[in-house]
Amino acid sequence: MSTARVGVVTFPGSLDDGDAARAARVAGADVVRLWHADTDLSGCDAVILPGGFSYGDYLRCGAIARFSPMMAQVVEAARDGLPVLGICNGFQILCESHLLPGALIRNDHLHFICRDQRIQIENNTTAWTKDFPVAHEIVIPVKNGEGGYVADDRTLDMLEAQGRVIARYVGGNPNGSYRDIAGITNESGTVVGLMPHPEHAIDTLTGPTADGLPFFTSVMSFLNSAGHRTDAHAGVTA
């Protein structure tokens, strides 16, 4: 079986695209760099929407990126089961695209914050978290200005009931996220949005820990386990 292809989308203003690509490569992926203006997923088996300030995040984070040609492809393929991980700005884009419920607003303390953050992985059955032990606590960087996750109570209750809160802040909420939510998933566990940055924690030389790597190895195990290698996606993009 060939190596799984993981695409990393670059929007104008993406900043962590190189880091996300590096992390996926370290996890063993064949990394494909995707361009926001293109309309071809290049046969990718999974896609990462990286952090940054797409289009300057001027209107609302992720609001403009959502309308890019590449996102049209990603949204369609994600509805057909393509694993997608949105980190920070990528999470915002996923919410703006309505692939994930809720939205991300300005941090409650109104400052950009960059710090090493403890989070607990609460769902280790998604495509992007299956390599974590149950209820595992990790430390990875969080860095955002608009990272407060908000949704109405019904949506929040629904996410909790369905086990779709995949990660929660512990030891202090960095941005006022409702119910300390750091990351959520869609119903099928293939699309994950995460505010902290696992791609900055893949080795202890450049990150606070190497705790972020399992996000990237998870999708590799997911893709390699029978039935999930989706050569079918070629059909979607063709």
Binding site: L59, R60, A63, I64, F67, C95, E96, H98, P101, G102, A103, I105, R106, N107, D108, H109, L110, G148, V150, A151, D152, G176, Y178
Partner: protein, 85 residues
């Protein structure tokens, strides 16, 4: 020329940290009886020519989906009659 104002505010049930910060600041600076402050955005859009039905419909759609995030925000669209020739 047409001039359109689109005002976008967070829905009442959504926490507004910026508005809260402004409320506190107003209070600290001596303004009494401030009950609530909400902070939103206003876009002033200048269009060439006049606003025909097609562009009006598109503009409403874009206000609802691009300028506002319908999950957390409401929008109001007004044509600035004075500025609109």
């Amino acid at each position: 020329m047409a001039r359109i104002l689109v005002t976008v505010m967070l829905k009442p049930e959504i926490l507004d940290p910026q508005g809260a910060a402004v409320r506190n600041a107003l209070g600290r600076l001596g303004l009494t009886g401030v009950n609530d402050v909400r902070q939103g955005k206003q876009f002033v859009i200048e269009l060439d020519g006049d606003l025909d039905a097609d562009r009006d419909a598109l503009l409403h759609k874009l206000a609802a989906e691009l300028l506002a995030n319908p999950v957390i925000e409401d929008y109001r669209l007004e044509v600035d009659a004075q500025a609109t020739a």
